[in-house]
Amino acid sequence: MERFDYARAADPAAAVHAASLAEAPKNETQWPTQYLAGGTNLIDYMKLDVLRPQRVIDINDLQDQHGAIEVAGDGLRLGALARMSDVADHPDVKRDYPVIAESLNLAASGQIRNMASVGGNVLQRTRCNYFRDVSYRACNKRDPGSGCAALEGVNRKHAVLGVSDKCIATYPGDFANALVALDARVNVLGHRGSRTMRFEDLHRAPGDTPEIETNLEPGDLILGFEVPAGPWTRRSLFLKIRDRESYEFALASAAVALAMDGGTVREARIALGGVATKPWRAHEAEAVLNGKPLDEAQARRAADAAFAGARTREQNAFKPELGRRTLVRALMQAQAMEV
């Protein structure tokens, strides 16, 4: 691990001020200041020398102010410093937003869920081995213009949606897909003040600039999330398919929420994980389902629409079909839920 200066921030403004001091490059991996909350992702990547910040600002003292979990009539509010396990085990979240609770409970391990903040969780870095291992020279995400070793390399776990010829790294998280399905918004404090953006706009597909993963600016600090209430949130679930039953990243996942009128879908909310370069809202699949009776054939048509734009490589050609079956099963299970 490279040397860094460590400081604790007493309030959000102080944290942002400290983080905004330095001029930062566009490449997010090279940002000179990093915030430390649970550290489960940051410390790992610092030990790998992928992240080499000069300054680490410990924001854990902000948890009292920005760590609350509030379920109100108009929606769910999560402070960024709330820990994954606290949100996952919250009885109101489990009842009214099961897709959120399940996405967190199916992620990582008990120890990591106790440590990791939900704000940090959405910003976790890809598990692409060519990104993680700096002994590989070719990684456009770490070093723009160096190439992508995954295109012709070991790419079984790589993305098929939102890919480019510069990068096919999978967005690894689960919780972010629940947020994007439920039209969440994210509150950000930056050096020009606070702002709220659609969660769907937080992450970027790689395109020609895979080194820019989010629409955050250097020094921006996520303070919390707002998830609007809706008739679909109770009939929601997170289905995660992976190589081993627990403590593993998704090969394919589906975050699904349905508002039903009898057997007819009034409104569907769908996001897909393990298959895409960013938290992936499947608007095309939703359009197929909305206003129509839901049965397995219809769910299959929606899944076909979701993966119509999939682009596979040598080892991940199984992913579109696995993703389609995952979504069909999630839709059928959500329809059968008693709410």
């Binding site: 691990m1 200066d5 550290g39 410390i43 790992d44 990582a108 008990g110 120890q111 039953e245």
Partner: protein, 201 residues
Amino acid sequence: MDEPFPVSRRRVLAGGVGVAGASVAHADTSLRERTTQAPPAGPSTVAVELEVNGDRHRLEVDPRATLLDTLRLTLGLTGSKKGCDHGQCGACTVHVNGRRVLSCLTLAAAVRGPVTTIEGLSGAEASKLHPMQQAFVDQDAYQCGYCTPGQIMSAVACVHEGRTGSDADIREAMSGNLCRCAAYPHIVAAVKQAAPQIARG
């Protein structure tokens, strides 16, 4: 410094919590290799106050020092093990504020709240085994023993979290602790044995 390690490995082993004793030689080797790669602590250190197993320590640490390395190398508490050092194996599991966490991904400077390690698990009665430790012995829930301190710390937390209702619950809740000897069925049996005793307090 008369006694750099206030709790020596020998005393820990003699105290009866050394269920991982079989792999001590292996642990030493890997540790030496790792520590020679890291540069020595520089001038910029951070003052931290750590409470570990009821003892308060005032330390000056390199900001890069993990809680795991601080426990093992600075405080001589070698019960917590370094397996992967990347949060993937659970061998370094300790309790902070009563919650199980990974000490390898925790900076010592960032710790807030009291730490409990395997050495402090049985509290004041250090000569007695904690019920979970006894259960691991009774159920033969290890082979090489390297992962065992982390398994036990995680298992105790699982009971407190209420995640030991069924074998499937236990396997899911313990999935963050890998055992390369694959003693998993015995570990499940040990957790089942100890859970009611711990729940009774």
